[in-house]
């Protein structure tokens, strides 16, 4: 068994991995960029090493620095999390060269799946259905236009090295191809250091269904059922769930078999995800395979009872899979990603200090978070605050629980998408399972609805009492009774702590 694991990541996923390590009695090593000295993963680890400035290219993407820390700290394994170096074959190779266990698949599998056009060819060869498109990256506009005519419009332009919706553009007619390719290439270059893009037929309003797979070093590969992640905004997943309301046991078996087929084609070891697009007729096509843990892995954990990080560590240590058969999904789990972003302003990131944070609790509620009250969401990284994951005996109970948990979630100091998320799970179309990837465009305005007259009255009364007390300077009396004494002797009015830009209201 491993003794010390370096987590080459930051934020919630680094903390997630370290929690399981702590449970297993495994020491942990954090690496952190300058602004991440205050991050929870730096504080949570047994050891922590500074690896450079904020820019990822100078810190979290620096294979040399991370390998150095691993050697200096005596870590016997590296967990890459998701994003950053998690799908870089050269990172897996560098670990291998130093005799450090890479908690993930072989560099061969990463390469085969990481370059999207190669993955497409591999899948075609393995008999896995794929969306029609270019088999190679497009290099010049002329050939791109030729391919585009063959594939037909609308079509998708995608980063070959990509994932997570970055470097992805939909194109409706030939005249848009040029600017779309340029934007996609620019984003791909910035995000992945590789500007290759390819073309693919656009599947109209599909569902995004993905299958969790797990392989061990003894040749066993199983699937752990599907997740549905159709609720997306600009190809970024917003709400994920397991199982899919659209998938019955027969279809589940079929999806699982195809996912295993895909994984076997690259001798897959560890946790991976086969992403599929599914149309209304339940035809499905290989989209890509993510050779790492997914952001949304908790919904699989809560419906299978398997700690996927623990399983990763066991598999990396050479153990056999804990389950050689797929567990029947139990109940229903939903994840919502809580972001510091402003739905009223085009989902602009809203970095800032979390002046107050109250996370929900109770039955069936899980919080995976890398933040705390007083933490500052910096503009350098993804503005994620927390993942909120719920479990319920069925989809109705899980949906109700998600709404209840969101109602308890309070973040001050930054603007969040919490009320937007509530509008999603409260929507009748969500309850009906009408969850294609165009769900948000189709059903949700960016504008939040007008408050009820009761809530408006409550807001006016609160503000008037606050203003009354302010103008009467009776502040001190209010604080002493039961207020948080962390304001010390300061009047509550004078304290800036809870004053922040909870935006979205319209002033007179």
């Amino acid at each position: 068994m491993l003794k010390k694991v370096l987590v080459a990541n930051r934020g919630e996923i680094a903390v997630r991995v370290m929690r399981t390590c702590r449970e297993m009695g495994i020491q942990t090593v954090a690496v952190f960029s300058e602004p991440d000295r205050a991050a929870l993963h730096t504080r949570y680890a047994s050891e922590a090493y500074a690896i450079g400035p904020a820019a990822s290219a100078e810190s979290y993407l620096r294979i040399d620095k991370i390998i150095d820390v691993a050697k200096k700290s005596g870590a016997d394994a590296i967990h890459p999390g998701y994003g950053f170096l998690s799908e870089r074959a050269e990172f897996a190779d560098a670990c291998a060269a130093e005799g450090i266990c890479f908690i993930g698949p072989s560099s061969h599998a990463i390469t085969q799946m990481g370059e999207k056009t190669l993955a497409r060819r591999t899948m075609i060869a393995a008999g896995v259905p794929v969306v029609p498109g270019t088999e190679q990256a497009v290099t010049d506009l002329e050939s791109a236009l030729k391919h585009a005519e063959e594939i037909g419009f609308p079509l998708m332009i995608k980063a070959a090295a990509g994932g997570g919706g970055k470097g992805m553009r939909r194109v409706f007619e030939a005249s848009e191809v040029k600017s779309a390719i340029e934007t996609a290439q620019r984003e791909a270059q910035a995000a992945f250091g590789d500007n290759s893009v390819y073309l693919e037929r656009y599947i109209g309003n599909p569902r995004h269904i993905e299958v969790q797979i797990f392989g061990d070093q003894h040749g066993n590969i199983i699937h752990l059922n599907e997740r549905e992640c159709s609720i997306q905004r600009r190809h970024q997943k917003v709400i994920e769930e397991a199982p899919s309301a659209f998938v019955d046991p027969q279809l589940r078996e079929k999806l699982g078999a195809v996912a295993i087929q895909a994984a076997k084609a690259v001798d897959y070891v560890g946790a991976g995800t086969v992403e599929l697009l599914m149309d209304e007729d339940k035809n499905f096509y290989f989209l890509e395979m993510n050779t790492r843990l997914q952001v949304e892995h908790p919904v699989t954990e809560l419906t299978t009872g398997i700690d996927l990080v623990r399983e990763q560590i066991h598999v990396a240590s050479g153990d056999k899979l804990s389950h050689l058969e797929t567990p029947v999904p139990r109940g229903h789990s939903i994840e919502a990603r809580i972001y510091a972003e402003d739905p009223q302003r085009g989902f602009m990131p809203s970095p800032g200090q979390l002046s107050f944070l109250r996370q929900p609790g109770g039955y069936g509620v899980r919080i995976d978070s890398g933040v705390y009250a007083g933490y500052e969401i910096t503009p350098h990284y993804d503005p994620m605050i927390s993942k909120l994951i719920v479990w319920g005996a069925n989809r109705v109970e899980a949906t109700q629980r998600m709404d209840r948990a969101l109602s308890e979630f309070v973040v001050n100091g930054v603007t969040t998408n919490i009320s937007y998320l509530r509008r999603i799970v409260q929507h009748p179309a969500f309850a009906a399972g009408d969850t294609q990837t165009n769900f948000l465009e189709k059903y949700l305005d960016d504008e939040s609805p007008a408050p009820s007259s009761t809530k408006l009255d409550v807001a006016k009364i609160s503000a008037a009492i606050r203003q009354y007390e302010f103008s009467h300077e009776l502040a001190n009396r209010m604080v002493t009774q039961q207020g948080d004494s962390s304001t010390g002797g300061l009047s509550a009015w004078a304290s800036n702590g809870r004053r922040a830009n909870l935006r979205g209201g319209s002033y007179e």
């Binding site: 984003e187 910035a190 009255d457 807001a459 609160s462 503000a463 008037a464 203003q467 509550a492 007179e508």
Partner: protein, 175 residues
């Protein structure tokens, strides 16, 4: 004087609101002529807990401007974010005058966070509609369009494409 009259406004609709503190520390609040008994405290380092005629509310109340006395608040009430302004009569008259003036003046578009100018979608002298995109900033790995806060003419552009900008940097002015 333990009774005070305010004007509470939301989306240009005004209500009269009278607050009176009673001896037991609770409040009598008359809003649009309807009287409410309100028990109000701050807990948890700032959250307001109100019991209004036996209905219980947790309210997050944040100042909407730098100055306490402006009376601009954003309230989070049972999942809804509501902006209200509460001012006493005298203050109200003042801010109305200021308010009208500042709405008509030139508006500066600033960068909400550090980032890079990806694309400038307008030219100096160009007329723009309120809410139309004017500039694209890349920050936190995403491209973000900033929009015109009012209709008018682009009177000045202070940045160029590919330029790195700080948070709150002035980008352009609409007159």
């Amino acid at each position: 004087m333990n009774k005070q009259t305010f004007v509470a406004s939301h989306q240009k609709v005004n209500s009269e609101i009278v607050v009176e503190k009673t001896k037991d520390g609770s409040y009598l609040v008359t809003l649009d002529g309807v009287e409410h008994v309100v028990d109000a405290h701050q807990y948890e380092g700032g959250t307001w807990s109100l019991i209004i005629d036996n209905s219980s509310y947790d309210v997050e109340l944040e100042l909407g401007s730098e100055s306490e006395s402006d009376g601009e608040y954003t309230a989070l009430v049972r999942g809804s974010v509501v902006g209200v302004t509460v001012q006493d009569e005298r203050r109200k008259r003042l801010s109305l005058q200021e308010g009208t003036a500042s709405q008509d003046g030139p508006q500066t578009i600033t960068s909400p966070m550090p980032g890079k100018v990806v694309k400038i979608l307008v030219e100096e002298g160009q007329e723009v509609e309120e809410n139309s995109p004017v500039i694209v900033i890349e920050a936190m790995k995403m491209e973000n369009e900033l929009r015109a806060v009012k209709s008018g003419t682009i009177s000045k552009i202070m940045v160029s494409e590919a330029e790195a900008v700080e948070g709150n940097a002035k980008l352009l002015i609409i007159s």
